[in-house]
C-alpha cells in the first residue's frame, strides 16, 4: 500500500507538472483539491481520470464519481486497491 502511494505521488507530480513538489512534500492525507492542500482544479481531475485508466486500467465514467475518490492520495490508493 505504501509503495502504491509513493508511486501515485510520483505519477501525480509528473502528470500534473507539479514542478515545485517532491514526493516527500505530499502527505497521504493532504487534500488534493482546495486551497489548504495541493489546490488542484477540474482540469487536474480530468488528468487523474486518464491516469487511473492508463496506469491502473480503472475506468471512471462519471466525472462526478471522481470527487470522492480524489480527496487525497490515501483515498486514491484505497480506490485502486479496492478494484484490484
Amino acid at each position: 500500500m505504501s509503495e502504491l502511494k509513493e508511486e501515485l505521488k510520483k505519477q501525480l507530480i509528473e502528470q500534473l507538472n507539479l514542478e515545485d513538489f517532491e514526493v516527500s512534500d505530499i502527505e497521504d492525507n493532504d487534500l488534493l483539491f482546495g486551497e489548504d492542500g495541493l489546490a488542484l482544479d477540474s482540469i487536474d481531475a480530468l488528468e487523474i481520470i486518464v491516469l487511473l485508466e492508463k496506469e491502473y486500467g480503472i475506468k471512471v465514467a462519471d466525472p462526478k464519481q471522481g470527487k470522492d475518490i480524489m480527496t487525497s492520495v490515501q483515498t486514491l490508493a484505497d480506490f485502486i486497491e479496492s478494484k484490484r
Binding site: 482544479d41 477540474s42 482540469i43 480530468l46 481520470i49 486518464v50 466525472p63
Partner: protein, 393 residues
C-alpha cells in the same frame, strides 16, 4: 446619419442541409442531422453520433465547380466555408450589386482535418502546412468569392462567429470595406472529437439541451455566413443587426461560472446597445450545447436577465445540428435571421424535463405567426468567451 447595419445575404451548410432552403425545411420538419459516423475517420466510429455534413470532399468540390485535381489545395474547412460563403455572397450581390467586400471568418482548428492525416507520416508531402493555419480557409474563401478588400480570422473558440460579426460591423462603420461576409466554419476532426471526449462532455446519444438528464454535446461541422452592409447603402435587406457584445467570464479556462456572469454580461450589453428592453425579445437562440455546465450557467443567466418566469421563447438548434464549434454562431445567426423572415420559432428537440431549480422550459414545437421581431442569439466558448447578437425586423 443612419449608421444601422443590415443583413443582405445568408448562407449555410451543416448536418441538416447544404444550403439555406434545405436547412430551413429541416428546421420546420423537426429533422435533426445527428447520426452515425459516415465520413470522419476515427476509431470511435461506433461510439459517437456526429452532425456531419452529408457530402464527401469530392462532392463538395463538385458543388463548387472545382476540379477534383485541386483537392490537395483545400481543407474540408475551406470547402465548407466556400460553399456557405458563396451562397451568402450571391444573395447580397443579386439584390445590391457588387461592392468592395471583405471577409471576417472564424474557425477553431482551421485545416486540422487535413493535418491529422498527414502529420507524422513518412511522406514528403507537406502541403498540409499551407492548409493548416486558421487563416488559410478565410483566404481561400475571400479569393473564391472575390472579397479580398480585407480578410481576417477570429479564433475565440465557440463564440468566434459572433465576434467575427462584431469586427465586421466595425470595419463597415469605418469604411474599411463597404460589404463584409461574417461568420464561421469548422470541419469535423479526430482532433476535436478526441479533445471533447477527453473533457468527458460528449453525449453518446442524441444531445438533450436544457434537459435535466442532459449528458453532453454532439460534435458537428458546418459553416454559416451573413453578409453585412450599412443600411443606407442597401437597396434590400433581410433584417437589422441591432446589438452585439462580447464579455469574458474570467472564471475558468473551459467551464462557465455558476452565476453565468459572462453570459449575463454579454446579453445585457447587447440589449443595451440595441436600445430594446428585455421583454421586446421574442426568441432566444441559446448556446445550449447540452453539457451539464453550459446549460445550467446559461439558464441562470437567462433567468437573471429576463426574470424568472419571464424568459421568452427559447431553444437550442444544436439539438438539430450538433455543436459546430466556430461555425455555431454563424449557423445560428442564419437561423435567427430566418426566424424573423418567416416569423417562426424553432423547437428544442429531445427536451423532456426541466433542469431542477431553473424552471426553464424551452420551446418544444414549431410555432409560426407569433410576430417574431427581435431575436437574440448566444454563443459562448473556451477561455470564458461570451458573445451575444440581436437581430431585428
Amino acid at each position: 446619419m443612419d449608421e444601422s447595419i443590415v443583413v443582405t445575404g445568408i448562407g449555410v451548410v451543416c448536418s441538416i442541409g447544404a444550403n439555406v432552403p434545405e436547412c430551413f425545411n429541416s428546421l420546420k420538419d423537426e429533422r435533426a442531422g445527428i447520426e452515425a459516423v459516415q465520413y470522419l475517420k476515427t476509431v470511435h466510429k461506433e461510439r459517437f453520433k456526429l452532425g456531419e455534413v452529408k457530402r464527401s470532399n469530392e462532392e463538395l468540390l463538385q458543388m463548387l465547380s472545382l476540379p477534383a485535381t485541386s483537392a490537395d489545395k483545400y481543407s474540408r474547412t475551406a470547402l465548407l466555408a466556400m460553399l456557405a460563403g458563396q451562397e451568402a455572397m450571391q444573395m447580397a450581390e443579386a439584390s445590391n450589386g457588387a461592392k468592395r467586400t471583405g471577409v471576417v471568418s472564424s474557425t477553431t482548428v482551421g485545416g486540422m482535418d487535413v493535418t491529422e492525416h498527414k502529420y507524422l507520416k513518412d511522406n514528403p508531402d507537406n502541403s498540409y502546412l499551407q492548409t493548416h493555419p486558421c487563416g488559410d480557409s478565410t483566404r481561400q474563401l475571400a479569393n473564391f468569392i472575390g472579397a479580398t478588400a480585407y480578410y481576417t480570422t477570429l479564433n475565440t473558440a465557440c463564440s468566434s462567429g459572433t465576434n467575427a460579426l462584431i469586427h465586421g460591423a466595425r470595419l463597415l462603420r469605418h469604411g474599411i470595406v463597404d460589404r463584409v461576409v461574417v461568420g464561421g466554419v469548422d470541419a469535423l476532426t479526430m482532433f476535436t472529437l478526441n479533445g471533447f471526449n477527453s473533457l468527458m462532455i460528449l453525449d453518446t446519444e442524441h444531445c438533450k439541451p436544457f434537459d435535466k438528464n442532459r449528458k453532453g454535446l454532439n460534435l458537428a461541422e458546418g459553416a454559416g455566413y451573413l453578409v453585412l452592409e450599412k443600411m443606407k447603402d442597401a437597396k434590400e435587406y433581410l433584417c437589422k443587426v441591432r446589438g452585439f457584445a462580447n464579455a469574458n467570464d474570467a472564471y475558468h479556462q473551459t467551464a462557465s461560472s455558476p452565476e453565468g456572469n459572462g453570459a449575463y454580461s454579454s446579453m445585457l450589453q447587447a440589449l443595451e446597445m440595441s436600445g430594446l428592453s428585455a421583454n421586446d425579445i421574442d426568441y432566444v437562440n441559446v448556446h445550449g450545447t447540452g453539457t451539464n455546465n453550459n446549460d445550467l450557467s446559461e439558464g441562470v443567466a437567462l433567468n437573471r436577465l429576463f426574470g424568472e418566469g419571464k424568459v421568452p421563447h427559447f431553444s437550442s438548434t444544436k439539438s438539430y445540428t450538433g455543436h459546430t464549434l466556430a461555425a455555431a454562431a454563424g449557423i445560428e445567426a442564419v437561423f435567427s435571421v430566418l426566424a424573423i423572415q418567416n416569423d417562426i420559432v424553432y423547437p428544442n428537440l429531445n427536451f423532456k424535463e426541466a433542469i431542477e431549480d431553473l424552471d426553464l422550459v424551452p420551446n418544444t414545437k414549431v410555432i409560426e405567426g407569433l410576430g417574431v421581431n427581435h431575436v437574440m442569439s448566444n454563443s459562448f466558448g473556451f477561455g470564458g468567451n461570451n458573445s451575444t447578437v440581436i437581430f431585428s425586423k
